[in-house]
Every structure is written in structure tokens, then in C-alpha cells.
Subunit: 338 residues, 2 copies
């Protein structure tokens, strides 16, 4: 018999809450039997949305949370003060072992701070990174850390590499994922102080397939499976991915509409092009897990649709079934970093 | 009467040397009267190329240099040992006042090291940055530093901002260019230690139009005219621009060829699309100057065509005519940083 995976879902987080979030939860429990969802948020609003759907009643439970943390609020303050917010209440369910995972499309800062303060780190993990799947020409790569820890140190980056490698192998299914560190050149003497300190440490790791440095140019071309970066650099990469993608696509649309001839062509090209560009859209790949916590915390896009919510719930199922946290615990229990 | 601008051109640098370099020099002197070019490189090879063209003989001079620095060589060692290389000989012409500018498509590392060791810094300039024009949806932005100084300090970044602002205003012609620092968020409390230290210093600068932080997402959308970054981050941005652009374009081409219908459309769309994408191609915007040297040093793309060489020579003319170096000297003479 399959074990049930219990997911706490922030029903108030993101631009499309609670509508799309509730819809995604319903779609998930209707599609798979071993899922139980706790919808955390303002009871009345959530129940109002839920009443629109048919689903197995015992597999969705509403947990009331009277407050909402907005993206404008300073994260640390918000987590400390709003004890009855959907983020704090949802993360407490994970902390207390009542849920296996927490998903939110709300304030990234608050989710990250709550992950550390409410859920807590696995023993031995110094800094839990955010791990985001980014599209490449031939699949996806995991960018870790994509923004949780700016000013991270070399020992943190080594942990990012190890946890990212486990995630990529067991959740995404890439055997012996190629792990590379973001650098300004591929020669071993290249780099800033942090990369020069981290490089030999990664080279020594026997439990990962470290392939050396990767220049940012090679990331979209699939040059590595796990892209290790300090949080500032990782965040720049993630956001430039989004910005450059949308800028280029708007340029291309403009170009297609520039002449009568090209307008005719655009009509013919459109369906195929749409399908292709979808594979290069970061929002297609579910949420970004925060690795190394006592439980799973996943950040989804602020504008997540019901489909993304559903896929992120399925991602939590794989995470649990593949015993990712047990593997991370074993890693740091065997070889303590400190 | 117009003053003649004397440009030393590395005839041996880049993938297309000496052919395209020599051709670009000829095109430049044939197009404008106030240009004199020194073609620096192996005399026989350069003269062989030159013999193919017609041009005013007194405006192109060949300067022999028996050695070539390759991109594989360690830059500092190469500059010290290869005294008769085209890079060292060309930069010495600038150092000795025989040329106003040096252009090379060769080893970036060697050009940067030579800029510091051979040409030398303007008094008061701590770290000369590389300033690269990158395309945006509505024009160009100047990325400074795009890779010369990793591990730069806050005072360096302030100088990058000031020199970049002068360049953007007087060479590109954007009045009061908006200067922004690359950051992980726009709120003032956001950032890594370096950005947090630099931000208030930039805010105090009266001689630039500092508009605050910019997230990488907004760079391609034209969120600022001068993008200030430490060299590691700047290099990641520049290379991701290149890599993501080429990856997306190859995806789009693939998409257009995926069905019969879309293939027909592609034929109609192609000319307009090609024109549009050209405006988003970083190689269209000439070379990247190293700012703050006693003379001008410009790095062009390794695969520079004669057209890019010609445009870069014109860029040197504007740089001289707009007295950029005099403006930089005045800036640091008035308000010494140290």
C-alpha cells in the first residue's frame, strides 16, 4: 500500500489565491490517491472556493489562518509577528509532523525565513538553499542557490552541490548528475576568491560528479545538470533568464508583425512556436524546494496556475517517496562538515 | 580642421585575423578622413592582406610585431614575456603617445593586463573596468564592469558608475543616463555585503543620476542605462546574455521547422525576424572599452568582422573627440577618492 503524502498548501499566497490554489489542490487529489492536502488560509474564503468542486472529502482539510503576509512586508518581522498567518500556520504543520511538505506562492522572503525559523534545518546543514529548475535546450538544470543566501561561504556551496545532486538524481531522475560551479572562465586559476576557495573542495567530494567550472554562456545550452552558485549570483542568473526570455519573445513578436508578409507567416508559425517556447518557460517546471530542512518547503511562482500547483504537489510526493530528506540526513550524519 | 585620431590595431588578434582586421582598417580610412591606423602584427602577413585594397597610403602604417599572444596563455606571464607581441607593441604606441587608442580582438585577459601594466591607469582610478554595451528592448545599456575586476570593492564600483555615466552620455549620447546597481531586489535593505556598502555611496554622488537597484530581470527591458556590477556578476550577466540569446534562437528555429505549416510560415517571417534579432545581438555594438586608462584600449569580439572593426575605430574617434579621458581625469582630480 502506498503511503499517503500530506501537503500543507498556502491558500492565500500568490496573485491567483485562493482560486487557482484551491483548484490545483482539487485536481491533485482527484488525480492521485495517496495525497492529502491541508488548505491553510481564511476558512470562509477557502471553503467558498472548495464548494465549487467535487472531490473525496476526507482528502482535503481546511486549516484556518486569520492573517496573510504580503510581499511588501519585511520577512523576519512578518514571520515573528503574524503567528496566525497562512505561512506560519502551514509551516508549523510540517514542523509538528502533521504535514510532510508546505507549498506557497507567497512572499519568497517570508517563506525562506519561515523555513529556517519555523521548520528548522536538518542537523549539519549550514544554510538551506533554494533550488530552482531552469530550462535548457535539451531539458532542465537545477540552479542552487537561486537566492536564499547572499554572501554564502565555500562550505555552504559544497553543501548546495551535494544536496542539489541528490535532488537532481532522485526527483528528476538524472543518473550521476554533472555538477558545475558558475565561474568567469573554465581554467582552474580563474574565479573570484569564493570560487577559488570552493573549487578544490568540490573536486575532493567523492559523492558528487563534479565537472569543474561552467561559464554562464553554457548554462542554457545544458552544460551541467546542477549549477552551483552563491545566492547573489544565482538570483541574477534566475532573474536574467526570466527577463531575457520575455524581452526576446516580445522582440520576436514585434518582428513578426512588422511587415504584411511576416504577418501572414506569423499566423502559420504561431502554434508550433508556442509549443516550443513553452519548453523554455521557467514557470512550467513546478516549484523551487528549499533543501536541507526538517520537512519540505516549496516556493511556487507568484502567478502559479492550478496546473503548477498540482504539479508542485506531485513533486512533493516524489520528494517523499524518494526519501530525499533521509538521504540528506545520512549525508551529513556520515561526514559532519564542522 | 579636424584632429586626426590615431588608432593602433592588433592585426593578429581574433579568429578572423589578419584578413577581417585589415579589411576593417581599410574601410575605416576610406570612410573618414581624420583617421590614421597602425596595423600591428607580422609585417609580411599584414602587407599581404593590405595589397588587396586601395586606400590613402599615408593613413595606414604597418608596425611589425613578431610575436602573438594566444587566448590559451596565462595573461600576466604572456604580457611580461612577449615584449614583441602585437598586444604589447600596440599598447606601447598608446603609452608613448604615438597612438590615441588600441583595439584588439585577441585574448581578453592579456588586453586587460596590458592595459594596466603597459598603458597604465589615469591618476586616481583604482581599477579600470571593462564597459560593454548590451542590447535592450529599446536600445542599449552599458554594463560596467563586465569582467575586468572580480572581487572589486565598493569604492571601485563607485568609480565604475561615474566613468560609465560619462561614456554613456558623451559617446552614446544619452543625457543624464540612469545609473543602477545590480541587486537581488529593489528595496534598499536588499543585497549582499558589497551592494549594501556601495548603495549609500552611489546615493551620495552628485555627478551621476543614480536611480537605485536593478534586478537582472529588468536589464533586458531597459530598466537603466548604466548597469553597475562587480566584475564577477557583470561577466555572468554578459555571458548569460550571449548564451540565452543563442539558445532561444536555436529553439525558435527548431520550432519553426517542426511542422509543414510552420515551415511555410518561417519562409515568410524570416526576413523581418532576422532584422529584429540583429538589434538584440551583442556583437552589433562595437567593442568594449577599458575605462580609466591613459589612452583608450578597446576589446572587440573574438569573431569580429571587418564591419565591427570599422565601427570600433569610429567609436575611438568619438571617444577622442568627446574628450572622455579628459573628463575622467577632471573627475578624479577634483575629488580624489583616496
Amino acid at each position: 500500500m502506498q503511503e499517503t503524502v500530506r501537503v500543507a498548501l498556502d491558500a492565500m499566497g500568490g496573485d491567483n489565491a485562493p482560486g487557482e490554489v484551491v483548484k490545483g489542490a482539487v485536481e491533485a487529489v482527484n488525480a492521485k490517491e495517496n495525497i492529502k492536502v491541508f488548505l491553510v488560509g481564511k476558512e470562509e474564503a477557502v471553503k467558498g472556493e472548495l464548494s465549487k468542486y467535487t472531490y473525496p472529502l476526507d482528502r482535503i482539510e481546511v486549516v484556518n489562518a486569520s492573517e496573510v503576509i504580503t510581499t511588501e512586508e519585511a520577512p523576519v518581522m512578518a514571520i515573528r509577528r503574524k503567528k496566525d498567518s497562512s505561512i506560519v500556520v502551514g509551516q508549523k504543520l510540517v514542523k509538528n509532523g502533521e504535514a510532510d511538505a508546505f507549498i506557497s506562492a507567497g512572499s519568497t522572503g517570508a517563506i525562506l525565513v519561515g523555513g529556517q525559523l519555523v521548520v528548522g534545518r536538518i542537523h549539519g546543514v549550514e544554510r538551506p538553499p533554494l533550488a530552482t529548475l531552469i530550462p535548457t535546450v535539451n531539458g532542465v538544470a537545477l540552479l542552487v542557490d537561486s537566492g536564499a543566501n547572499v554572501d554564502a561561504r565555500a562550505s555552504h556551496l559544497v553543501q548546495f552541490a551535494k544536496m542539489g545532486s541528490i535532488y537532481m538524481e532522485h526527483v528528476i531522475g538524472i543518473k550521476k548528475p554533472r555538477v558545475a560551479i558558475v565561474n568567469v572562465g573554465v581554467e582552474e586559476e580563474k574565479g573570484n576568491a569564493l570560487v577559488k576557495e570552493t573549487f578544490p573542495l568540490l573536486k575532493e567530494c567523492e559523492d558528487i560528479n563534479f565537472t569543474g567550472s561552467i561559464e554562464a554562456r553554457e548554462i542554457p545550452h545544458g552544460g551541467a545538470d546542477v549549477i552551483v552558485a552563491e545566492g547573489f549570483t544565482g538570483n541574477v542568473i534566475l532573474k536574467l533568464y526570466e527577463g531575457l526570455g520575455s524581452a526576446l519573445i516580445s522582440k520576436i513578436k514585434g518582428g513578426m508583425m512588422s511587415t504584411f508578409r511576416s504577418k501572414m507567416g506569423a499566423l502559420l508559425v504561431k502554434p508550433a512556436l508556442k509549443e516550443t517556447l513553452k519548453t523554455f518557460d521557467a514557470t512550467e517546471y513546478g516549484g523551487a524546494p528549499m533543501l536541507g530542512l526538517n520537512g519540505l518547503v516549496v516556493k511556487t511562482h507568484g502567478n502559479a496556475s492550478s496546473k503548477e500547483v498540482k504539479n508542485t504537489i506531485f513533486q512533493c510526493v516524489t520528494f517523499k517517496e524518494q526519501k530525499i530528506n533521509e538521504k540528506i540526513k545520512a549525508l551529513f550524519a556520515e561526514k559532519p562538515e564542522k
